[in-house]
């Protein structure tokens, strides 16, 4: 009896052990057949669909260009979720050597101290000229005079208009860098002259656009120079620049030429569909949409810079997109491999091809000399505009992004304020409420992180 019991106990233990071993071994990295003696550099990214294909081309190109390193790309889902995965796996064998983190996670990444600034590698590498990279993109990912991450897939918000419709109704197109009233004029003329068949304009309820409007008018939302000279302790959304932006939209809503598509991914898709169908003449969106807007468009596409308030100069918008960061929990050789990959990804030819296949902007100044881009511009001259806007922007604290943790929550609250104001609510009241909620969140976050 006892013996049988003992035997059953042993077998039970074995089964449990087997189950646990089974659970914990599934995470083991799969050995690549071609790895041989190359140093493996695991690369986490969040690009799906066509952009993922283009990214894999970049990775394959790098792997073929040298024999020391092998970059292994791994798709990690959405930008937001990837940030948490990166932070929570740091220091374990599963963590990546190089990863893509989106614009609004920059403060989080810097404060985590989990990364090696790319500046450290650039300083030791005379063959790489950082001056060739677009200044507005560089300054977005630098802090304390150091390049923290390598800007990678980069876009700019631009204004799109239906050039064919403008021509049809004999409306003078807006200038390259339009003011709010330039756009209002075009929108109202389009609405009136089309016999109210075509709405003049829309601006999606999207926090990014509110931030960009404030930036382009030269105002920093967060204090401490948008977080570039210290941890922000508060923001002020009820500032003249943000108010002017919402007042501009209010004015167009009142005159009937504005159509509201709401917020979220479906709103984005619906406004694009509306624009392509000629139901709305003007909208603001990321420059990365340019491919979609030229490929499926029977009408001619017009593009201008992001609009700015009347009676002042545009400050220039900040970039959107993501950068490549190098984890500091990997051996030196692996980190060097990560840097080599980032450097390769930023080389002129690779960036030119990248812009052509994804719509993200080529960041290397020399890319403009590449045949791929010259051909692209010859076929579609408007495609030049986003790149010009990027090149024109003189980086300052205002247009180098908001270095604030908890930007995800901030965006949600900005969108609530936009929604309230679009629905006819008082602009100051909506912005004051959003400011209060964001500041409460900042206070809690700073307390949790021990920032003074």
């Amino acid at each position: 009896m006892n013996k049988r019991l003992k035997n059953s106990l042993i077998s039970l233990t074995l089964i449990i052990a087997a189950v646990f071993v089974g659970i914990f071994t599934t995470n083991k990295p799969v050995k690549s057949s071609s790895s041989s003696d190359r140093t493996q550099v695991v690369f986490w990214h969040e690009l799906g669909g066509a952009s993922e294909d283009a990214l894999e081309e970049v990775v394959n190109g790098f792997n073929k260009s040298q024999s020391k390193y092998e970059v292994v790309p791994k798709y990690q889902g959405s930008y937001d979720e990837a940030i948490q995965k990166i932070l929570q796996t740091h220091g374990t064998s599963t963590s990546p050597a190089v990863f893509q983190a989106f614009d609004i996670a920059t403060a989080q990444m810097i404060h985590s101290k989990y990364t090696t600034p790319v500046q450290n590698f650039i300083d030791k590498d005379p063959s790489f000229d950082i001056e060739k990279i677009a200044p507005a993109a560089r300054s977005f990912y630098s802090n304390g005079g150091k390049q923290q991450a390598m800007p990678f897939n980069t876009s700019q918000p631009v204004l799109y208009y239906n050039a064919s419709l403008l021509k049809k109704y004999k409306i003078t197109p807006p200038p390259v860098s339009p003011t709010y009233s330039d756009i209002t004029r075009v929108a109202q003329q389009l609405y009136e002259r089309s016999g109210h068949k075509t709405k003049g304009m829309t601006v999606q309820i999207y926090g990014w656009l509110l931030e960009q409007a404030t930036t382009n008018a030269g105002t920093a939302l967060a204090n401490n120079n948008n977080g570039h000279t210290g941890i922000p302790t508060g923001i002020d959304m009820d500032n003249p620049s943000t108010v002017k932006f919402l007042e501009w939209i209010h004015k167009n809503i009142k005159s009937g030429d504005f159509i509201n598509y709401g917020s979220g991914a479906s709103a984005g898709a619906n406004q694009t569909a509306g624009f392509l169908a000629g139901k709305v003449g003007i909208f603001i969106q990321s420059s990365a949409s340019i491919g979609e807007l030229t490929a499926n468009n029977k009408d001619q596409l017009g593009i201008t810079y992001f609009p700015h308030p009347d009676g002042q100069k545009a400050n220039g918008v900040s970039i959107g997109g993501a950068a490549l960061w190098i984890s500091n929990d990997k051996p030196k050789a692996v980190q060097q491999g990560a840097y080599e990959f980032a450097k390769y990804a930023l080389s002129p030819a690779v960036q030119a091809q990248w812009q052509k296949s994804t719509g993200y902007l080529a960041l290397n100044k020399d890319s403009q000399k590449e045949k791929i881009l010259k051909d692209l511009y010859a076929k579609n001259p408007e495609a030049k505009v986003p790149g010009q806007q990027l090149a024109d922007a003189k980086p300052n604290y205002v247009n180098s992004g908001i270095l604030l943790e908890g930007m995800q929550v901030t965006r949600q609250l900005e969108e609530v304020a936009m929604e309230e104001s679009y629905n006819g609510g008082d602009i100051h009241k909506a912005l004051k409420k959003a400011t209060k909620n964001v500041n409460q969140n900042i206070t809690t976050s700073n307390r949790a992180n021990g920032y003074k």
């Binding site: 937001d80 979720e81 932070l87 709401g262 479906s266 995800q408 809690t444 976050s445 021990g450």
Partner: protein
């Protein structure tokens, strides 16, 4: 837990102990108890008890950028949540959703089960059809319904166009998005509910119906006076399960609305996920998880307290 199992084990083994039903264990019994309970206790404590206690612990702190607990905040996270209009709105929409899903699932399930319990030729086909959603995965169901809800090419849009009615924006209008999620969930749950209720109805003795027919009771009367009371334990079980599943609903929401538009379908569980894995606010997410646990426990308790009393034959 250990003690409640002892009398039977003890009783069969030693004569002396059975007399005063003592709860003390001899060495062999302890051995057995450890043998049988050990594995499940081990797995439960690693995968259930530890995470539960850890969640409770985190909910009393603030967490920093790295997700680590830093400042003790007592009940601060809870008071912040309960004072936030967004959270209360989320709670409200969850209650609406759970209530609608439970009532509709059990109601329609009962109706279908009652129809399918009739002995008619070819009824097997209908039984299979009604229970088929049990075999459909959440992602397939979500994609299937997304096609149906599509405002330009979906089935509902085509139907509206055919009838000359305005097209409903199922997924962009806040109220309709809630209905879209409810309809999809009910559809998903129906197969299981139907099957369980059909089994219960089939188990009701036919003699009861025969007697009622002789007495001249109508079918309707038979349904309410015989079928419903006889299957009430199953109805109770099914509604409890549906209610709890409703509170825990995640997959369909993630795939169909992602909590939008304007947070109208941002149910409690989805909110926890977003706060933790999108915003990285683990402290707040943990507090939300604890509040959800309390709510589910409360509703389960209510159901046991009031519904179970009315469960009788």
């Amino acid at each position: 837990m250990l003690k409640s199992t002892t009398p039977t084990v003890v009783g069969s083994k030693t004569e002396a102990k059975t007399k005063h039903r003592t709860f003390s264990l001899n060495a062999k019994d302890k051995y057995y108890a450890a043998l049988f309970l050990g594995p499940s206790l081990l797995i439960l404590s690693v995968f259930v008890f530890y995470p539960m206690l850890r969640t409770l612990y985190i909910s009393m702190f603030l967490t920093n950028t790295l997700g680590k607990t830093t400042v003790f905040n007592g009940l601060g996270n809870y008071t912040d949540l309960l004072g936030s209009p967004e959270y209360i709105a989320s709670l409200g929409s969850t209650l609406v959703y759970v209530f609608a899903v439970t009532v509709l699932t059990v109601g329609i399930g009962l109706l279908l089960a009652n129809l399918a319990s009739k002995r008619l030729p070819g009824i097997g086909i209908f039984r299979t059809l009604y229970s088929v959603t049990m075999g459909v995965s959440v992602s397939v169901a979500a994609i299937f319904w997304l096609f149906i809800f599509n405002p330009s090419t979906g089935f509902f849009a085509l139907l509206s166009n055919l009838l000359g009615l305005p097209v409903i924006n199922w997924l962009t209008d806040p109220t309709m998005a809630m209905w879209a999620v409810i309809i999809t969930t009910v559809w998903m749950n129906l197969g299981f509910t139907f099957l369980i209720l059909l089994g219960a109805i089939s188990a009701v003795p036919t003699t009861l119906y025969e007697a009622a027919s002789i007495e001249g009771a109508s079918e309707r009367r038979q349904f309410f006076k015989i079928t419903v009371p006889m299957i009430s334990p199953t109805l109770f079980f099914v509604s409890t399960i549906t209610l709890i599943e409703g509170f825990k609903s995640f997959g369909l929401i993630d795939l169909i609305t992602k909590g939008g538009p304007t947070n109208s379908t941002n149910m409690l569980v989805y909110r926890i996920y977003k706060d933790a894995f999108y915003s990285g606010n683990y402290a707040q997410a943990s507090s939300e998880a604890i509040i959800l646990t309390v709510i589910i426990a409360f509703f389960t308790f209510l159901q046991f307290k009031f519904l179970e009393k009315r469960v009788n034959y």
